[in-house]
Symmetry: none
Subunit: 271 residues, 2 copies
DNA sequence: GCCGAAATAGAATATTTGTTCCATAAAGCA
DNA sequence: TGCTTTATGGAACAAATATTCTATTTCGGC
């Protein structure tokens, strides 16, 4: 039987993993997938923990280790412990390295966006208006149907919310504007509208919000800071600032906020 | 006879260490010094190893742990493992946290998602395969038309890319699956496909990728780590790991990568 | 549907690792 | 120096963990 010598580096391990994965029976494939997803975790876990995470008995994980060329789990773990103990994969250093690439180099660009995203996240956590968030959760949790609206740059956020709501079992509809339809008439008393919009604000979103208010449907607005003009159009306003790099603004913080909002609403509803 | 409760953080541990160090007998001081020098190593060592490193018998190290306020070495090690393994904490515990705190505390939830997002970003910067990124930029920059595909959880990313490409003046089309149409025939030689997909992979995406390859259209895949099954279906694979909180995974890192990709392609074309 | 081979789960065992205990050595004190 | 207190090292013990073994199930080919 066998097989090649044990991998000596994490890269070699990965290669080998790719190589064998296809030919693996079900349980062992589960092991492979879970291991691939938690390379870091291996160094600190016990077989039992790792196996539980993969949803297999410990003995299956054991066989997996042997198929990978190790004498057992202990030997495999040693590999990952060495890798982890090595020069700490220092984030700051790595980022600096990437940024040092010439401007225009893809890796340098990425480093900048990553940094902008990280700053946005931190800003969100720092500046969050907890009262507004609490209020938004309350409004949405009571709604019969949650209407989601967002166009242009905001559309991905609305679409993501629609996906998450569906997963959570929340009754939500996405106003996606397909075929230029507005579905304003779908807003009925008892519902709620969650509108995502950044300046310059899309006409469609504002129109929908206005219509909601006219119908007595509460409006939660997720927007960027100069929110004064919109204050009359919403019951609750959540603001989020995205740090930009060049002319480009990411959505990291907005999406994190949206996700938290959805999960909080689902939890409040008592799913 | 414990003087104080066990430190709960590495900082508290350090404080305590400074505090007691002076009043320690020789062997225990050796322990203190060696531990202070190898804070990282503690998570990965056994008592025996650590003791050997300090030049003392295991029982001395044991007494040291107890003087520091822990019940023993195991408890002390847990502290450092938690600190080291932040990115991959125990899944079950976190899910329990989610359920316990989510009910009354949307802000706490948000904090978790922000933290997960931040870690994902750092992971992206750390683990990025620069060669693959470079290659992906090259492929997409040469394309006549860039086809964007992503369904379910990946859809928001594809949609965001479509928005950004439009802003950048890149010829891109979004395969959004409206009306159940696949638009596979739109893939023509000279084009390129950028497909975003996470396991469990959507059938539509895989089908589109297969069709692209059959047509000689290069495929760039943006996906999560166990990418082995897909390796035959793509010319370049970019992997990105999103740290999850509970059952929920954000898109922060994926979107940052997508944005960087788009901007780099635009820059490459413009030059 | 039957058969043989492969895969699997869980119990049984081996090993490693953590922890306690105590006899001895060292240090402080009169 | 003799006595008491404290520290020390190593061996004995306990717990956790890895590993192997085997009865049972599953799967693929006839």
């Amino acid at each position: 039987m066998t097989d090649t010598a044990a991998p000596q580096t994490v890269e070699a391990f990965n290669d080998r993993l790719q190589g064998v994965r296809g030919a693996l029976p079900k349980r062992l494939q589960q092991c492979a997938d879970h291991v691939a997803r938690n390379l870091d975790g291996i160094a600190l876990s016990t077989v039992a923990e790792l196996a539980r995470g993969a949803g297999v008995p410990a003995s299956a994980m054991m066989r997996f280790c042997q198929i990978m060329g190790f004498s057992g789990f202990a030997e495999m773990q040693r590999l990952f412990r060495r890798a982890l103990a090595k020069p700490a994969p220092d984030y700051a250093t790595r980022l600096a390295n990437l940024q040092a690439r010439g401007a225009g180099q893809p890796a340098a660009l990425l480093a900048e966006f990553v940094e902008a995203g990280r700053l946005s996240m931190e800003g969100l956590a720092r500046d969050l208006d907890e009262t507004a968030l609490e209020q938004a959760v309350g409004l949405l949790a009571q709604a019969r149907t949650i209407h989601l609206a967002g166009f242009r740059r905001s559309f991905p956020v609305a679409a993501y919310l629609a996906y998450v709501c569906d997963k959570l079992g929340l009754p939500a509809v996405l106003h996606d504007g397909v075929a230029g339809l507005s579905h304003g008439a779908a807003l009925q008393p008892g519902d709620a509208l969650l509108a995502i919009t950044f300046s310059p604000h899309a006409e469609e979103t504002l129109a929908l919000a206005a219509r909601a208010r006219a119908t007595g449907v509460p409006v939660v607005l997720l927007t960027d800071p100069p929110a004064s003009t919109l204050s009359s159009q919403a019951d609750t306003i959540l603001t989020v600032t995205e740090v930009d790099f060049g002319a480009f603004r990411s959505l990291s913080a907005t999406i994190a906020l949206a996700l938290a909002l959805a999960v909080a609403v689902a939890s409040r509803r008592g799913t």
